[in-house]
Symmetry: C2
Subunit: 217 residues, 2 copies
DNA sequence: GCATGTGAATTCATTCACAGCT
DNA sequence: AGCTGTGAATGAATTCACATGC
């Protein structure tokens, strides 16, 4: 949770900003110049009040009676989220998930530049992926520093993940995206997000298993 | 949101059940026979009350003065989440993400059996991935039926995703995990979870961009 | 004495409703 | 008239605190 001029910003608000950002691109492509909170809400299955409240945390972007200017609002949200600039990213672990990430085109487009790749497998070290050389993870800390890496993506097996995270934190990197299926510890000044496909699947099985118990009482 | 005997179960509770399930495995391996809500909470950075409340929605699993039996509680949670059985899964789209999924060992272990793979690329159709043949997505609906698929993972480009989802829904499948970076529509009886790496990255950049504005007022 | 299970209290998120601007 | 921006009201999730049982 972050406070901006005294207002609490929740992770859900941050998430919705990302959704608005994408939706505004679509609206832009469809030729809209302005959009109302109701339009935005309808397309995202939210309430207009929710949309207005989310935006109101960061300023006043609309015109009463008219709505929000599509292109401008999109630019403003980009600035709020911090994707109006390039970010130096490093990837640790070039297995299946890591490879998928390197090939993920949206990444480059969004300004995420994978500058460094690390692995501990001697057969992989020295090889190239999409033009990026794979380095020995032994040099992780010093290279993160040298290349001014701001975000590290951890895609190593669970058993190795905490060790990698510790090095990353020691190197002064404050943002980590992990694909490891284990609990990771970071100091409170570091932002950690974890993606775990198995857990997402379990949401599905929970619903499949329990939806016959739906009540509407 | 699901109701069980009148109690509201939130997605966050479901998520935490998955965390407890994993943590209990660790505790089991460490040789613990019982565990208190405080122990569980400390390891997950939650409060003991949160842990007890989560579990209380589904029954009484502990012993006062003693705590919860590790192995037994783990088994109970498996039943609640619905991972005490095998699930028939199909994968649509065998690109980078799809390939990573097929190779993901945790999946098999957790009882998720990828029975079918689909793609629309003629060069891929007929090929095999980890012993599973790639089928033409044209036959999606009928094959999902024939093989009693319960969960479909959609890993196709954004532009193709809604079309695939429509077919999946038409085939009567009620659980979908999507990796497409677009908004998808499903009827309310279908559970849809979306993973979007770019959005996760944006949480990180938001924090990196805004944490210098932290207040503690 | 110790730790669960759970109503009550609190905190946090969302929605309402309306004043204010175009 | 239409739609934003925002305090106030509601609703949901979390935490408190204690009665209950081992």
């Amino acid at each position: 949770m972050v406070r901006i001029t005294g207002k609490r910003i929740s992770e859900s608000t941050i998430h919705r900003l990302s959704l608005y950002y994408r939706l505004l691109k679509v609206l832009q492509d469809e030729g809209y110049e302005t959009v109302s909170s109701k339009d935005l809400a309808d397309r995202e299955k939210l309430t207009p009040a929710q949309v207005r409240k989310d935006l109101s945390f960061f300023g006043q972007f609309g015109t009463r009676g008219l709505g929000y200017p599509v292109t401008e609002l999109r630019q403003q949200i980009a600035e709020i989220i911090g994707i109006n600039k390039k970010w130096n990213v490093a990837l640790v672990g070039i297995g299946n998930v890591g490879s998928a990430l390197v090939s993920y085109k949206e990444f480059q487009k969004q300004g995420f530049h994978i500058k460094l790749i690390f692995d501990n497998d001697q057969r992989k070290i020295g090889s190239f992926h999409k033009g990026i050389e794979v380095h020995d993870v032994v040099n992780l800390r010093q290279m993160l520093n040298k290349y001014n890496i701001e975000i590290v993506i951890v895609a190593v097996p669970g058993a190795a993940a905490q060790g990698v995270v510790n090095e990353v934190v020691a190197a002064g990197v404050n943002a980590i995206l992990s694909f490891a299926p284990t609990n990771l510890r970071v100091p409170s000044h570091v932002t950690l997000r974890s993606e775990n496909m198995a857990i997402e699947m379990e949401h599905l099985t929970f619903h499949l298993t329990n939806e016959n118990l739906y009540y509407t009482a």
